[in-house]
Symmetry: C2
Subunit: 160 residues, 2 copies
Amino acid sequence: MNRPTDTSVSAPRACFIAAGLDVLGERWALLALREMSLGVHRFDQIARNTGASRDILTGRLRTLESRGVIERVQYSERPARYEYHLTTSGAEVAPILISLAAWSSMWMRDETPRASYQHSCGADLKPVLLCAECGEEFTPGSLIFGPLVSTAGTDPASDQ
Amino acid sequence: MNRPTDTSVSAPRACFIAAGLDVLGERWALLALREMSLGVHRFDQIARNTGASRDILTGRLRTLESRGVIERVQYSERPARYEYHLTTSGAEVAPILISLAAWSSMWMRDETPRASYQHSCGADLKPVLLCAECGEEFTPGSLIFGPLVSTAGTDPASDQ
DNA sequence: ACAAGTCAGTTGGAAAATCCAACTGACTCG
DNA sequence: CGAGTCAGTTGGATTTTCCAACTGACTTGT
């Protein structure tokens, strides 16, 4: 064993789940996006509501901005002040937050009181995930591998 | 102002998104669950496919087990060896992984080739999230706050 | 006018989490 | 018997995070 350049010692899967977690999986990132989804856009409030320390939060917001998930919007010159807003990409993180909230409210019940979420229709969170193509529900196990994809410059929109 | 016990200096939101991230938001946790969703159940393979270091992975699997998301199943005595399997709770993480994969394949496209995913019908991942109650689609912004919930002992199932 | 407050950060140092490669122990296989 | 498999464990380096205090440019209250 211990061959110098052994390619059979396979590298970690490069997949879109891993790529998504590169951006959204860092600590505080999803909570910051939650805040913006709920209409909170200012640094102090985001820091307070998430519990992230200010220095870390600064870094996260910069990363999310550089990855096109949020944008920094100046709302005051003269003390230069900025708000953080979701881009289209950031707004589309919502299904992840919703799935997470639904899973958590199903399986993470304990004694501590927590804010729950609802659909805007007023009903408790009970989302159903359907395949847009065949209309069937995504059941556990219905996720399978597709082909390798590498489409640089084929972004769906360059609006941000 | 600056009243001694000022409740307006609010604590971080205690919500189900935050609670879910407590369990699923730690590094490598979702990637380990991805592996099990794809049928990989053994320690070495999970370590290889995720890229997690073995000591950290050990810790993650223990946490996930203690939170009821996975279970450790002995498949050999005499060298005591265990496999990791999703519980019902763990299997239901699938919508989160699917939403993440779909978001990522939409917005994280770059030059590096990545494995994509499909629905078992063979179509590319294009999930639609519907409210089970009203049937309407969850659009960005349709997530709103519900009441505070604290339902200890009201678990939907005690099968694991 | 002057003190206090707001706001979006930055700073420095401590604490915690992660990384890494090597090692262990109980086997199986050729 | 030696090599390989497998599920970890160990020790030490590295990275990330935490925390509280501080800054600078204002605004607001008295």
